[in-house]
């Protein structure tokens, strides 16, 4: 891997958490010391995907020594409801169950093993009803979780008539299990006055707080949620952390004891939702110059049994349905279909990848039919400055063509393609494939009201600084970035700054750590707080040194400086403290400019877009269907990266996760809604052999968006979509072996599918 040596090197590359991680001192939820008297919760969940609860027998479980209580929906003090966007998800099943893994009862016991045994002793008799696992079947029965969505620009009907080439087809992408290595969990501690403190492994502390308050029937100020850090989230702990927090909260509320629940991996896989599988149809029209004139698509999202975040995920599918291309006439429809699977949820990319896969499929299909390389069509249609997206936003600081051109130049695309072609001429049973994947990803929550954040800053009288924001550290390095922001504002060393836990009593009404926007939103709120204190120090310096209003003052290098006047940071802090100046500040930020009208599906929903281009090459063993990735070479628009190590890590990790989704991660439910890939032995995520042998990442020099923190563009989700290139590189290798391969456009491209494709 290389980075661009011409870029300035004044920005730091560090991870504040690394020393803790390498020494084993990091405290995840399950590492907290347990209070005496802690009870352990476990859910008894449905083993049938859809049915009527005829009978429940807890006699044997209750008789087990160590079992303290078994809780049903009748015991819930407030509302039995944990749905976020739409209130359609009970915490505990009442009359019916809707998916395998749906909690029915909560066992509280003195230790985890007893809780586990008790759950096994509970008899639940369920009369099975019709089980739906396919989104198309659900759609045909009008089982929709929310209103269909529709995006339109231009007039596709007219445009198709004028197109020289029109192709229609189907595309499917599979689900994806998050496999955050730290399983879900929560720990509730009663305060004695009826209020609770909850430690939760969540990306959404406020979502947990709001949900718990509702389930307990108390106000939000009675519930304090604290998150130290989480061991991976990827979207899986955004809305889906609320159930476990609610379970321990109910247990604690009813028993007045601390209650803890850490899910076993098997439970986590069975009970939690995943990336949405999609089935789709498309129609693409091109003119004689291969310019895409019209695109239509219908997206059928497998939403699972409750709404969760599905409508928002569905909307982002439509935002990104034309990926990095300008298409003047677009008409897309999307349906969130109710099935008897666990409620599917946020996963890095949030529906965007599913949309992009369909567009890339349509282009690949057209290219095959026209006998040209897909890259020809891709390159001709890349977005340009001033192009209008189908949702009305105008592309600004558009780097789609620049990242493509730079990738082609820097990595010598022509030579790479020739090497692939030469190899394929020389080898009969081993073929290489090359694919390019351009990406364009919008940054902001598409629900405009969520684009705001707050921060709390304390400067202590000894000069040390404590900062709190709404950002949750989950491995993405936001802690390091927040510390950098505060240190830069105060002109002090990062060692002077401590980042506190994410806590709802210190920073309230947080948006979840999601949408790649966390560093931007919280970082800018933090800047606001630091600026307020900075101004007070400047005013103090003016008075102390009798300076004019317009005198230049600076906080830099652990000092405050104005011309020849200089005081150390500690001195100005100490002086301010003596003068009774407020050393604390609360900052707020809400993203300007953005707006979106959900009725017309038009507006300016994104603060900015992130662009990039990846070239992927692979080798396919045409006897066995095995494949490996030779290289992925990327040119990425980081803006002006504020932390190289963290940002590069996001690209590499996102890429690996995207490749996993597109190739080897196969989520299998049978017709009864039973998860057949229910442990990490049969649900395989990329291991050290599965990732590309070579990953090269090049910075495109851009000035960066003003709405990005320190002009360092958001980096969490976009790189996942480079993984789509892996799918098409394999597809192209298969075509090199069997040009007439009858391979449907269905991801993931498992070894089995490759083998079928090679010989069909």
């Amino acid at each position: 891997m290389t980075s661009n040596p011409t870029k300035k090197k004044n920005k730091k590359s560090f991870n504040i958490d690394a020393p803790l991680h390498v020494s084993g001192k990091t405290q995840y939820l399950d590492d907290m010391p347990e209070l005496a008297g802690t009870l352990f919760a476990k859910a008894c969940y449905a083993k049938v995907a859809h049915g009527y609860i005829k009978d429940i027998d807890t006699t044997a479980a209750l008789a087990l020594p160590g079992v303290v209580k078994i809780i049903s929906h009748f015991d819930i003090p407030g509302e039995n409801e944990i749905g976020g966007i739409i209130q359609d998800e009970p915490l505990l099943a009442e009359v019916e169950v809707h998916f395998i893994g749906m909690p029915i009862l909560i066992v509280l016991a003195k230790d985890e093993i007893t809780a586990h045994k008790a759950v096994d002793l509970i008899q639940v008799d369920i009369q099975e009803k019709e089980i739906i696992t396919d989104p198309i079947v659900a759609f045909e029965k009008n089982e929709l979780l929310s209103q269909p969505l529709h995006f339109q620009s231009g007039n596709t009907a007219d445009a198709f008539e004028k197109c020289k080439y029109v192709y229609e087809g189907k595309a499917e992408s599979g689900g994806q299990e998050h496999v955050y290595l730290e399983p879900q969990g929560a720990y509730a501690i009663p305060n004695g006055d009826g209020s609770l403190k909850i430690y939760s492994s969540t990306q959404g502390p406020t979502a947990v707080q709001r949900t718990v308050a509702k389930v307990l029937g108390v106000s939000m100020n009675q519930v304090e949620v604290d998150v130290n850090r989480i061991g991976g989230g990827f979207g899986g702990k955004e809305d889906q952390a609320s159930a476990w927090a609610s379970i321990v909260a109910v247990g604690s509320y009813l028993t007045k004891k601390p209650v803890k629940y850490i899910l076993e991996r098997g439970e986590d896989l069975q009970m939690t939702g995943k990336r949405h599988p999609y089935k789709n149809t498309y129609k693409i029209g091109l003119d004689a110059e291969y310019k895409i004139q019209a695109f239509e698509a219908d997206f059928y999202q497998n939403g699972g049994a409750a709404t969760d975040l599905s409508p928002a995920v569905l909307q982002r599918t439509l935002f990104h349905a034309t990926n990095s291309y300008f298409v003047p006439n677009v008409n897309t429809h999307a349906y969130s279909c109710r099935t008897n699977l666990p409620p599917n949820t946020a996963f890095r990319g949030f529906g965007g990848p599913q949309g992009m896969f369909v567009m890339e499929t349509a282009i690949h299909h057209a290219a095959r039919a026209l006998g040209v390389s897909p890259t020809v069509i891709q390159e001709k249609n890349l977005l340009f400055e001033g192009a209008e997206f189908c949702y009305g936003q105008i592309a600004k600081e558009c780097e789609a063509q620049n990242t493509w051109k730079e990738a082609a130049r820097k990595y010598d695309l022509a030579r790479m393609q020739k090497e692939v072609d030469d190899y394929n001429l020389k080898n009969s049973y081993s073929k290489k494939g090359l694919a390019i994947m351009p990406i364009c990803f919008g940054i902001s929550f598409t629900n405009t009201q969520m684009n705001n954040a707050r921060a709390l800053v304390h400067v202590y009288q000894d000069g040390s600084v404590g900062i709190s924001t709404g950002a949750v550290e989950m491995g993405q390095g936001v802690s390091s970035k927040m510390i950098q922001v505060a240190a830069l504002c105060f002109g002090i060393d990062t060692e002077q700054v401590k980042l506190e836990t994410t806590n709802t009593t210190r920073v309230a009404n947080t948006s979840p750590t999601a949408a790649s926007a966390t560093a931007d939103l919280n970082g800018k709120a933090l800047q606001d707080a630091c600026d307020q204190i900075q101004k007070r120090f400047y005013e103090l310096a003016r008075q102390t040194w009798s300076l004019s209003e317009d005198a230049a003052i600076q906080l830099t290098q652990n000092s405050i400086v104005a011309g020849d006047n200089k005081m150390s940071w500690n001195e100005i802090v100490s002086l301010a403290f003596q003068k009774r100046i407020n050393l604390s500040a609360k900052g707020h930020y809400s993203t300007p400019i953005i707006h979106f009208d959900t009725k017309t599906s038009k507006g300016h929903p994104f603060a900015y877009h992130v662009y990039g281009t990846a070239i992927t090459t692979c080798t396919v063993d045409c006897i066995r269907g095995n494949y490996e990735f030779d290289a992925v070479k990327i040119v990425h628009d980081f803006g002006s990266s504020m932390n190289r190590a963290v940002d590069l890590g996001q690209i590499e990790g996102g890429l690996a996760q995207g490749i996993g989704w597109m190739t080897m991660e196969e989520l299998i439910y049978n017709e009864k809604g039973q998860l057949k890939s229910g442990n990490l032995a049969n649900y395989k995520i990329p291991d050290i052999y599965s990732v590309p042998k070579e990953v090269e990442i090049h910075y495109l020099d851009t000035k960066g968006a003003d709405l990005a923190i320190l002009k360092s563009k958001a980096v969490g989700e976009p790189p996942l979509m480079y993984g789509i290139g892996a799918y098409f590189s394999i597809f192209n290798a298969i075509l090199a072996f069997n040009p007439k391969a009858k391979l449907p456009y269905e991801a993931p491209m498992t070894v089995e599918k490759v083998l079928m494709g090679l010989y069909q």
Partner: protein
């Protein structure tokens, strides 16, 4: 059934009563509060709980606590000597071989075993050694570099 076992953990001898069913991973975490050994999968698939038993890397969820009776166990907490980080810990720190950190102790312990038996591993040998450890965050490249960094340091 309760059994008394004596294990030398990170250089210190401990004697404890354990249940026959107790896994070594749970013994370390729950009895000794050595929480740097993480449990990620319950099926011996992820490697987050890797430790050294008599110098060999072992997924501590694949071993019963009673099987460790009389053994020498090293966990991530016992790797640093006299306040200074082990070269592998330095390597993962310097080369950014981590993100969320949950898999990191297991990665480092597996690599410790590798570098002891093979101080100059090739990239292929490093990948072979780590095939039982999964990381969901990094894409592994920096993990390989971290181990190469440590090997260079240890051989210097």
């Amino acid at each position: 059934m309760s059994n008394e076992i004596t294990v030398k953990v990170n250089g210190k001898s401990v004697t404890e009563h354990v249940e026959g069913r107790d896994l070594l991973a749970h013994f370390l975490r729950d009895k000794l509060h050595l929480t740097g050994t993480h449990i990620g999968c319950d099926t011996s698939s992820c490697g987050a709980c890797t430790i050294l038993v008599d110098g060999q890397s072992v997924k501590s969820c694949t071993m019963l606590a009673v099987q460790a009776d009389g053994c020498e166990v090293t966990t991530i907490e016992g790797l640093a000597g006299n306040g200074s980080l082990h070269p592998l810990q330095e390597g993962f720190n310097e080369m950014h071989g981590l993100q969320c950190g949950f898999c990191t102790p297991g990665m480092i312990m597996t690599a410790t075993d590798l570098l002891k038996s093979n101080p100059n591993p090739t990239e292929t040998e490093i990948r072979e050694a780590l095939e039982g450890n999964i990381c969901r965050c990094t894409g592994y490249h920096n993990i390989v570099k971290s181990i190469q960094h440590a090997a260079e340091k240890m051989n210097a």
